[in-house]
Protein backbone atom coordinates (compact mmCIF):
# COMPACT_ATOMS: atom_id res chain seq x y z
CA UNK A 1 0.00 0.00 0.00
CA UNK A 2 1.55 3.33 -1.09
CA UNK A 3 1.35 6.55 0.81
CA UNK A 4 1.51 7.09 4.55
CA UNK A 5 -0.65 5.16 6.95
CA UNK A 6 -0.67 7.91 9.54
CA UNK A 7 -0.77 11.70 9.34
CA UNK A 8 0.54 13.46 12.42
CA UNK A 9 -1.05 16.91 12.44
CA UNK A 10 0.52 19.66 14.53
CA UNK A 11 0.44 23.42 14.49
CA UNK A 12 2.90 26.09 15.50
CA UNK A 13 4.91 29.06 14.36
CA UNK A 14 8.38 30.46 14.85
CA UNK A 15 7.60 32.61 17.90
CA UNK A 16 9.65 31.16 20.77
CA UNK A 17 6.43 30.13 22.56
CA UNK A 18 7.36 28.73 25.98
CA UNK A 19 10.99 29.60 25.49
CA UNK A 20 12.58 26.91 23.36
CA UNK A 21 9.62 26.13 21.13
CA UNK A 22 11.58 25.13 18.05
CA UNK A 23 13.91 22.84 19.99
CA UNK A 24 10.96 21.07 21.65
CA UNK A 25 9.23 20.70 18.31
CA UNK A 26 12.19 19.31 16.43
CA UNK A 27 13.06 16.95 19.29
CA UNK A 28 9.53 15.59 19.43
CA UNK A 29 9.21 15.37 15.64
CA UNK A 30 12.43 13.37 15.29
CA UNK A 31 11.56 11.12 18.21
CA UNK A 32 8.09 10.32 16.96
CA UNK A 33 9.03 9.82 13.33
CA UNK A 34 11.97 7.57 14.23
CA UNK A 35 9.90 5.41 16.61
CA UNK A 36 7.14 5.00 14.06
CA UNK A 37 9.61 4.20 11.32
CA UNK A 38 11.27 1.57 13.55
CA UNK A 39 7.87 -0.05 13.92
CA UNK A 40 7.19 0.00 10.21
CA UNK A 41 4.60 2.77 10.22
CA UNK A 42 4.77 4.99 7.16
CA UNK A 43 3.70 8.43 8.25
CA UNK A 44 3.67 12.06 7.26
CA UNK A 45 4.08 15.08 9.49
CA UNK A 46 1.59 17.80 8.65
CA UNK A 47 2.55 21.18 10.09
CA UNK A 48 -0.06 23.92 9.83
CA UNK A 49 1.60 27.24 10.53
CA UNK A 50 -0.94 29.80 11.56
CA UNK A 51 -0.43 33.57 11.69
CA UNK A 52 3.31 33.33 10.93
CA UNK A 53 5.52 35.90 12.61
CA UNK A 54 6.46 38.59 10.09
CA UNK A 55 10.14 39.11 9.45
CA UNK A 56 11.16 35.66 10.65
CA UNK A 57 11.62 32.42 8.73
CA UNK A 58 8.52 30.26 8.80
CA UNK A 59 8.55 27.25 11.04
CA UNK A 60 7.69 25.21 7.97
CA UNK A 61 10.93 26.28 6.28
CA UNK A 62 12.93 25.52 9.44
CA UNK A 63 11.29 22.12 9.73
CA UNK A 64 12.19 21.16 6.19
CA UNK A 65 15.79 22.10 6.96
CA UNK A 66 15.79 20.25 10.28
CA UNK A 67 14.47 16.98 8.90
CA UNK A 68 16.28 16.99 5.61
CA UNK A 69 18.66 14.27 6.84
CA UNK A 70 15.80 11.93 7.77
CA UNK A 71 15.09 9.60 4.91
CA UNK A 72 11.71 8.13 4.28
CA UNK A 73 9.95 10.92 6.14
CA UNK A 74 7.12 12.76 4.47
CA UNK A 75 6.57 16.32 5.67
CA UNK A 76 3.61 18.35 4.56
CA UNK A 77 4.08 21.97 5.67
CA UNK A 78 1.18 24.36 5.22
CA UNK A 79 1.54 28.09 5.88
CA UNK A 80 -1.65 30.07 6.39
CA UNK A 81 -1.65 33.71 5.35
CA UNK A 82 -1.67 35.92 8.46
CA UNK A 83 -4.72 37.83 7.26
CA UNK A 84 -6.87 34.84 8.13
CA UNK A 85 -6.17 35.34 11.81
CA UNK A 86 -7.43 38.91 11.79
CA UNK A 87 -10.43 37.95 9.69
CA UNK A 88 -11.49 35.01 11.83
CA UNK A 89 -10.64 35.98 15.38
CA UNK A 90 -13.47 36.60 17.83
CA UNK A 91 -11.10 37.59 20.64
CA UNK A 92 -8.24 40.03 20.07
CA UNK A 93 -6.36 38.55 23.04
CA UNK A 94 -6.01 35.25 21.21
CA UNK A 95 -2.87 35.40 19.12
CA UNK A 96 -3.30 31.93 17.78
CA UNK A 97 -6.34 29.99 16.60
CA UNK A 98 -4.80 26.63 17.40
CA UNK A 99 -7.73 24.44 16.47
CA UNK A 100 -8.63 26.21 13.26
CA UNK A 101 -4.98 25.63 12.34
CA UNK A 102 -5.28 21.96 13.23
CA UNK A 103 -8.36 21.73 11.03
CA UNK A 104 -6.30 23.20 8.19
CA UNK A 105 -3.78 20.40 8.74
CA UNK A 106 -6.40 17.68 9.14
CA UNK A 107 -8.10 18.70 5.94
CA UNK A 108 -4.84 18.57 4.00
CA UNK A 109 -3.50 15.32 5.40
CA UNK A 110 -3.43 12.31 3.12
CA UNK A 111 -3.19 9.23 5.32
CA UNK A 112 -6.18 7.11 6.35
CA UNK A 113 -5.42 7.63 10.06
CA UNK A 114 -5.02 11.10 11.51
CA UNK A 115 -3.41 11.97 14.81
CA UNK A 116 -3.95 15.54 15.98
CA UNK A 117 -1.35 16.31 18.59
CA UNK A 118 1.02 19.05 19.69
CA UNK A 119 4.55 19.96 18.75
CA UNK A 120 6.01 19.05 22.15
CA UNK A 121 4.39 15.66 22.62
CA UNK A 122 6.36 12.42 22.50
CA UNK A 123 4.50 9.22 21.65
CA UNK A 124 4.73 6.47 24.25
CA UNK A 125 5.73 2.88 23.56
CA UNK A 126 2.21 1.48 23.88
CA UNK A 127 0.87 4.18 21.56
CA UNK A 128 3.34 3.37 18.80
CA UNK A 129 2.75 -0.34 19.22
CA UNK A 130 -1.01 0.18 19.02
CA UNK A 131 -0.66 2.20 15.83
CA UNK A 132 1.79 -0.30 14.31
CA UNK A 133 -0.28 -3.28 15.40
CA UNK A 134 -3.06 -2.47 12.97
CA UNK A 135 -5.76 -3.10 15.61
CA UNK A 136 -7.29 0.34 15.61
CA UNK A 137 -11.00 0.43 14.80
CA UNK A 138 -12.32 2.99 12.35
CA UNK A 139 -15.19 4.96 13.79
CA UNK A 140 -13.47 5.35 17.16
CA UNK A 141 -11.65 8.34 18.59
CA UNK A 142 -8.58 7.20 20.48
CA UNK A 143 -7.19 9.07 23.45
CA UNK A 144 -4.01 8.83 25.49
CA UNK A 145 -3.24 10.37 28.87
CA UNK A 146 -0.61 13.08 28.82
CA UNK A 147 2.19 12.68 31.32
CA UNK A 148 4.04 15.94 31.95
CA UNK A 149 7.79 15.63 32.10
CA UNK A 150 9.77 17.53 34.69
CA UNK A 151 10.30 21.16 33.69
CA UNK A 152 13.71 21.67 32.11
CA UNK A 153 14.25 17.98 31.33
CA UNK A 154 17.28 17.25 29.17
CA UNK A 155 15.80 16.89 25.70
CA UNK A 156 18.97 15.44 24.29
CA UNK A 157 18.54 12.10 26.05
CA UNK A 158 14.96 11.13 25.66
CA UNK A 159 14.27 7.44 25.17
CA UNK A 160 11.37 5.31 26.22
CA UNK A 161 13.15 3.93 29.26
CA UNK A 162 13.67 7.44 30.58
CA UNK A 163 10.20 8.58 29.57
CA UNK A 164 8.63 5.65 31.39
CA UNK A 165 10.51 6.37 34.63
CA UNK A 166 8.03 7.92 37.09
CA UNK A 167 10.87 9.98 38.53
CA UNK A 168 10.68 12.11 35.38
CA UNK A 169 6.93 12.71 35.63
CA UNK A 170 5.23 15.70 37.19
CA UNK A 171 1.75 14.27 36.74
CA UNK A 172 0.25 10.98 35.52
CA UNK A 173 -3.47 11.44 35.00
CA UNK A 174 -5.90 8.60 34.46
CA UNK A 175 -8.50 9.08 31.76
CA UNK A 176 -12.08 8.10 32.51
CA UNK A 177 -15.00 7.21 30.30
CA UNK A 178 -17.06 8.23 28.53
CA UNK A 179 -15.01 11.20 27.27
CA UNK A 180 -11.48 10.26 28.38
CA UNK A 181 -10.84 14.00 28.57
CA UNK A 182 -7.82 15.76 30.03
CA UNK A 183 -5.12 17.17 27.78
CA UNK A 184 -7.29 16.15 24.83
CA UNK A 185 -5.51 18.48 22.44
CA UNK A 186 -2.33 16.48 22.90
CA UNK A 187 -3.74 13.25 21.48
CA UNK A 188 -6.79 12.63 19.34
CA UNK A 189 -6.42 9.80 16.84
CA UNK A 190 -9.15 8.75 14.47
CA UNK A 191 -9.76 7.47 10.98
CA UNK A 192 -10.07 10.15 8.33
CA UNK A 193 -13.73 9.28 7.81
CA UNK A 194 -14.41 10.02 11.49
CA UNK A 195 -12.57 13.33 11.37
CA UNK A 196 -14.51 14.27 8.25
CA UNK A 197 -17.82 13.17 9.76
CA UNK A 198 -17.17 15.36 12.79
CA UNK A 199 -15.66 18.11 10.61
CA UNK A 200 -12.69 18.55 12.85
CA UNK A 201 -12.56 20.89 15.82
CA UNK A 202 -15.00 23.66 16.65
CA UNK A 203 -14.53 26.60 14.28
CA UNK A 204 -17.81 28.25 15.20
CA UNK A 205 -16.69 29.32 18.69
CA UNK A 206 -13.39 31.10 18.15
CA UNK A 207 -13.40 33.29 21.27
CA UNK A 208 -11.23 30.80 23.16
CA UNK A 209 -8.78 28.03 22.38
CA UNK A 210 -9.11 26.48 25.83
CA UNK A 211 -11.81 23.83 25.94
CA UNK A 212 -11.97 23.34 22.17
CA UNK A 213 -10.24 19.97 22.51
CA UNK A 214 -12.73 18.80 25.16
CA UNK A 215 -15.53 20.15 22.98
CA UNK A 216 -14.39 17.84 20.15
CA UNK A 217 -14.83 14.85 22.44
CA UNK A 218 -18.28 16.06 23.54
CA UNK A 219 -19.27 16.34 19.88
CA UNK A 220 -17.87 12.90 19.07
CA UNK A 221 -19.66 11.31 22.01
CA UNK A 222 -22.93 13.03 21.15
CA UNK A 223 -22.57 11.87 17.55
CA UNK A 224 -22.35 8.26 18.71
CA UNK A 225 -18.61 7.92 18.05
CA UNK A 226 -17.06 5.74 20.75
CA UNK A 227 -14.02 7.13 22.52
CA UNK A 228 -11.36 4.77 23.82
CA UNK A 229 -8.04 4.89 25.64
CA UNK A 230 -5.38 3.64 23.23
CA UNK A 231 -3.59 1.90 26.10
CA UNK A 232 -0.61 4.04 26.97
CA UNK A 233 0.47 7.61 27.62
CA UNK A 234 2.14 10.33 25.63
CA UNK A 235 4.75 12.56 27.22
CA UNK A 236 4.66 16.34 27.20
CA UNK A 237 7.89 18.32 27.27
CA UNK A 238 6.85 20.79 29.91
CA UNK A 239 7.57 24.49 29.48
CA UNK A 240 6.83 27.89 30.95
CA UNK A 241 3.72 29.54 29.65
CA UNK A 242 1.86 26.27 29.20
CA UNK A 243 -1.84 26.41 29.99
CA UNK A 244 -1.56 23.96 32.85
CA UNK A 245 1.24 25.86 34.54
CA UNK A 246 -0.02 29.39 33.89
CA UNK A 247 -3.80 29.22 34.06
CA UNK A 248 -3.89 30.13 37.75
CA UNK A 249 -2.57 33.60 36.86
CA UNK A 250 -5.85 34.38 35.12
CA UNK A 251 -8.22 32.69 37.53
CA UNK A 252 -9.86 36.00 38.50
CA UNK A 253 -9.57 37.69 35.10
CA UNK A 254 -10.62 35.05 32.64
CA UNK A 255 -11.52 37.49 29.92
CA UNK A 256 -7.90 38.72 29.80
CA UNK A 257 -6.27 35.33 29.40
CA UNK A 258 -4.40 34.55 26.17
CA UNK A 259 -6.42 31.32 25.84
CA UNK A 260 -9.87 32.88 26.22
CA UNK A 261 -12.41 32.42 28.98
CA UNK A 262 -12.19 28.89 30.40
CA UNK A 263 -15.76 29.10 31.65
CA UNK A 264 -17.40 28.87 28.25
CA UNK A 265 -19.74 25.90 27.97
CA UNK A 266 -17.35 23.54 26.22
CA UNK A 267 -18.83 20.53 27.99
CA UNK A 268 -22.42 21.25 27.04
CA UNK A 269 -22.64 23.09 23.73
CA UNK A 270 -21.18 21.80 20.45
CA UNK A 271 -21.00 22.88 16.81
CA UNK A 272 -21.70 22.14 13.19
CA UNK A 273 -18.72 23.37 11.21
CA UNK A 274 -19.45 24.66 7.70
CA UNK A 275 -18.73 22.57 4.62
CA UNK A 276 -15.48 24.42 3.97
CA UNK A 277 -14.11 23.89 7.46
CA UNK A 278 -10.35 24.07 7.80
CA UNK A 279 -10.18 26.86 5.19
CA UNK A 280 -11.25 24.34 2.58
CA UNK A 281 -11.89 27.06 -0.01
CA UNK A 282 -8.58 28.88 0.50
CA UNK A 283 -6.53 29.19 -2.69
CA UNK A 284 -3.10 27.63 -2.37
CA UNK A 285 0.28 27.64 -4.02
CA UNK A 286 3.58 25.93 -3.40
CA UNK A 287 6.48 27.99 -2.06
CA UNK A 288 10.08 27.46 -3.13
CA UNK A 289 10.80 25.58 0.09
CA UNK A 290 8.06 23.10 -0.74
CA UNK A 291 5.51 24.49 1.75
CA UNK A 292 1.92 24.92 0.69
CA UNK A 293 0.85 28.52 1.18
CA UNK A 294 -2.84 29.34 1.70
CA UNK A 295 -3.40 32.77 0.20
CA UNK A 296 -5.94 35.03 1.80
CA UNK A 297 -9.37 35.17 0.24
CA UNK A 298 -12.48 36.52 1.95
CA UNK A 299 -14.45 33.79 0.20
CA UNK A 300 -12.66 31.22 2.33
CA UNK A 301 -13.38 33.03 5.59
CA UNK A 302 -16.46 31.79 7.45
CA UNK A 303 -18.88 34.40 8.82
CA UNK A 304 -17.69 36.15 11.96
CA UNK A 305 -20.68 34.67 13.78
CA UNK A 306 -23.02 31.85 12.74
CA UNK A 307 -25.39 31.29 15.60
CA UNK A 308 -27.28 28.46 13.88
CA UNK A 309 -24.11 26.38 14.05
CA UNK A 310 -24.13 26.50 17.85
CA UNK A 311 -25.99 23.32 18.78
CA UNK A 312 -26.57 20.93 21.65
CA UNK A 313 -25.08 17.44 21.62
CA UNK A 314 -27.34 14.40 21.52
CA UNK A 315 -27.58 13.13 25.08
CA UNK A 316 -26.70 9.50 25.67
CA UNK A 317 -27.36 7.29 28.71
CA UNK A 318 -24.73 8.25 31.27
CA UNK A 319 -22.07 5.66 31.86
CA UNK A 320 -19.85 8.16 33.46
CA UNK A 321 -19.28 11.89 33.56
CA UNK A 322 -19.97 13.70 30.35
Amino acid sequence: MSGPALSIVVTGRNDSYGGDFNERFFTAARFNLERLREHGVACELVLAEWNPVPGKPTLCALLARELRDMSGVAVRPVVVAPEYHGAMTQNPRLEYLEYVAKNVGIRRSTAPWILATNTDVLLGRAVVEAIAGGRLAPGTVYRAPRYDLTLGVDQGHLAWDALEDPANHVRRPVLRPPLFSGGSGDFALAHRSTMEELRGYNEVYRAARVGIDLNFLVKAYGAGVPIADIGGPVYHINHVGSLRISKAMFRDKQADSPWGDMRWHSRHVVYNNPDQWGLGAAPSRVLPDGSTYLDFDWAAVPPLVELRRVVLPVRRPASGEA
Binding site: T89, Q90, N91, P92, V204, Y205, R206, A207, D261, W264, H265, H268, V269, L304, V305, L307, V310, V311, L312
Partner: protein, 153 residues
Protein backbone atom coordinates in the same frame (compact mmCIF):
# COMPACT_ATOMS: atom_id res chain seq x y z
CA UNK B 1 -44.05 -83.23 127.87
CA UNK B 2 -43.52 -79.62 126.92
CA UNK B 3 -46.85 -79.63 125.18
CA UNK B 4 -48.64 -81.03 128.25
CA UNK B 5 -47.05 -78.30 130.40
CA UNK B 6 -48.00 -75.62 127.93
CA UNK B 7 -51.63 -76.89 127.81
CA UNK B 8 -51.87 -77.05 131.55
CA UNK B 9 -50.58 -73.48 131.93
CA UNK B 10 -53.05 -72.36 129.27
CA UNK B 11 -55.98 -73.91 131.31
CA UNK B 12 -54.74 -71.88 134.29
CA UNK B 13 -54.54 -68.72 132.15
CA UNK B 14 -50.80 -68.79 132.20
CA UNK B 15 -48.11 -69.08 129.57
CA UNK B 16 -44.44 -70.03 129.65
CA UNK B 17 -42.16 -67.11 130.29
CA UNK B 18 -40.33 -67.55 127.00
CA UNK B 19 -43.55 -67.62 125.17
CA UNK B 20 -44.69 -64.54 127.01
CA UNK B 21 -41.40 -62.87 126.21
CA UNK B 22 -41.75 -63.79 122.57
CA UNK B 23 -45.25 -62.55 122.47
CA UNK B 24 -44.22 -59.43 124.31
CA UNK B 25 -41.50 -58.79 121.70
CA UNK B 26 -43.86 -59.50 118.88
CA UNK B 27 -46.37 -57.17 120.42
CA UNK B 28 -43.72 -54.46 120.68
CA UNK B 29 -42.68 -55.01 117.12
CA UNK B 30 -46.28 -54.88 116.01
CA UNK B 31 -46.85 -51.75 118.06
CA UNK B 32 -43.76 -50.24 116.49
CA UNK B 33 -44.96 -51.16 113.04
CA UNK B 34 -48.35 -49.82 113.81
CA UNK B 35 -46.77 -46.62 115.00
CA UNK B 36 -44.76 -46.41 111.82
CA UNK B 37 -47.81 -47.07 109.74
CA UNK B 38 -49.71 -44.41 111.64
CA UNK B 39 -46.89 -42.01 111.01
CA UNK B 40 -46.88 -42.92 107.36
CA UNK B 41 -50.60 -42.39 107.21
CA UNK B 42 -50.17 -39.01 108.78
CA UNK B 43 -47.39 -38.27 106.29
CA UNK B 44 -49.54 -39.50 103.41
CA UNK B 45 -52.37 -37.35 104.60
CA UNK B 46 -50.01 -34.41 104.84
CA UNK B 47 -48.64 -35.14 101.36
CA UNK B 48 -52.10 -35.53 99.99
CA UNK B 49 -53.03 -32.23 101.51
CA UNK B 50 -49.95 -30.68 100.00
CA UNK B 51 -50.68 -32.08 96.53
CA UNK B 52 -54.24 -30.99 96.86
CA UNK B 53 -53.14 -27.46 97.63
CA UNK B 54 -50.66 -27.60 94.72
CA UNK B 55 -53.33 -28.85 92.37
CA UNK B 56 -55.62 -26.07 93.50
CA UNK B 57 -52.82 -23.58 93.00
CA UNK B 58 -52.05 -25.01 89.54
CA UNK B 59 -55.69 -24.89 88.62
CA UNK B 60 -55.89 -21.33 89.81
CA UNK B 61 -52.82 -20.39 87.75
CA UNK B 62 -54.11 -22.21 84.70
CA UNK B 63 -57.25 -20.20 85.02
CA UNK B 64 -55.27 -16.99 85.22
CA UNK B 65 -53.17 -17.96 82.20
CA UNK B 66 -56.23 -18.78 80.22
CA UNK B 67 -57.52 -15.33 80.97
CA UNK B 68 -54.14 -13.81 80.03
CA UNK B 69 -54.09 -15.80 76.79
CA UNK B 70 -57.55 -14.58 76.00
CA UNK B 71 -56.46 -11.00 76.60
CA UNK B 72 -53.30 -11.52 74.48
CA UNK B 73 -55.34 -12.97 71.66
CA UNK B 74 -57.60 -9.98 71.78
CA UNK B 75 -54.58 -7.65 71.72
CA UNK B 76 -53.04 -9.59 68.81
CA UNK B 77 -56.26 -9.28 66.85
CA UNK B 78 -56.36 -5.56 67.51
CA UNK B 79 -52.64 -5.27 66.50
CA UNK B 80 -53.28 -7.22 63.31
CA UNK B 81 -56.10 -4.94 62.41
CA UNK B 82 -53.87 -1.93 63.08
CA UNK B 83 -51.06 -3.46 60.99
CA UNK B 84 -53.45 -3.96 58.11
CA UNK B 85 -54.50 -0.36 58.41
CA UNK B 86 -50.90 0.86 58.50
CA UNK B 87 -49.96 -1.35 55.54
CA UNK B 88 -52.74 0.14 53.51
CA UNK B 89 -51.58 3.63 54.43
CA UNK B 90 -47.98 2.64 53.63
CA UNK B 91 -48.99 1.35 50.22
CA UNK B 92 -50.79 4.59 49.56
CA UNK B 93 -47.77 6.63 50.62
CA UNK B 94 -45.43 4.47 48.50
CA UNK B 95 -47.63 5.03 45.48
CA UNK B 96 -47.66 8.75 46.20
CA UNK B 97 -43.87 8.78 46.63
CA UNK B 98 -43.45 6.91 43.34
CA UNK B 99 -45.61 9.44 41.58
CA UNK B 100 -43.71 12.33 43.14
CA UNK B 101 -40.41 10.70 42.17
CA UNK B 102 -41.58 10.42 38.58
CA UNK B 103 -42.69 14.05 38.64
CA UNK B 104 -39.36 15.09 40.17
CA UNK B 105 -37.47 13.18 37.49
CA UNK B 106 -39.54 14.85 34.83
CA UNK B 107 -38.92 18.22 36.45
CA UNK B 108 -35.19 17.50 36.55
CA UNK B 109 -35.25 16.50 32.90
CA UNK B 110 -37.05 19.67 32.01
CA UNK B 111 -34.66 21.70 34.15
CA UNK B 112 -31.74 19.99 32.44
CA UNK B 113 -33.14 20.80 29.03
CA UNK B 114 -33.74 24.38 30.05
CA UNK B 115 -30.21 24.57 31.44
CA UNK B 116 -28.76 23.26 28.18
CA UNK B 117 -30.72 25.71 26.11
CA UNK B 118 -29.66 28.47 28.46
CA UNK B 119 -26.01 27.49 27.97
CA UNK B 120 -26.46 27.44 24.22
CA UNK B 121 -28.01 30.89 24.43
CA UNK B 122 -25.16 32.15 26.62
CA UNK B 123 -22.67 30.79 24.11
CA UNK B 124 -24.46 32.59 21.31
CA UNK B 125 -24.47 35.78 23.34
CA UNK B 126 -20.72 35.33 23.90
CA UNK B 127 -20.26 35.12 20.16
CA UNK B 128 -22.42 38.15 19.50
CA UNK B 129 -20.52 40.16 22.09
CA UNK B 130 -17.20 38.96 20.68
CA UNK B 131 -18.28 39.84 17.16
CA UNK B 132 -19.34 43.31 18.23
CA UNK B 133 -15.98 43.87 19.86
CA UNK B 134 -14.15 42.70 16.75
CA UNK B 135 -16.27 44.90 14.50
CA UNK B 136 -15.77 47.80 16.85
CA UNK B 137 -12.01 47.33 16.72
CA UNK B 138 -12.06 47.04 12.93
CA UNK B 139 -14.17 50.15 12.61
CA UNK B 140 -11.86 52.16 14.82
CA UNK B 141 -8.85 50.91 12.88
CA UNK B 142 -10.55 51.82 9.61
CA UNK B 143 -11.61 55.27 10.83
CA UNK B 144 -8.34 56.25 12.51
CA UNK B 145 -6.19 56.71 9.35
CA UNK B 146 -8.94 58.87 7.77
CA UNK B 147 -9.05 61.01 10.93
CA UNK B 148 -5.32 61.57 10.70
CA UNK B 149 -5.63 62.55 7.06
CA UNK B 150 -8.31 65.08 7.97
CA UNK B 151 -6.03 66.66 10.57
CA UNK B 152 -3.20 66.91 8.06
CA UNK B 153 -5.43 68.75 5.60
Amino acid sequence: MKRIVTRTLAHLGLAPAGHVARLREEGERTTQKLHEIEQRVVQFKADAELWKRRQEETARRAGEQEQAAARATARAERAEARAEELKARGDALAAEAKEMRARLQEANRSAGTVREHLMATETKLDLIEAALQVLDARTRAAVAPREQEKLRT
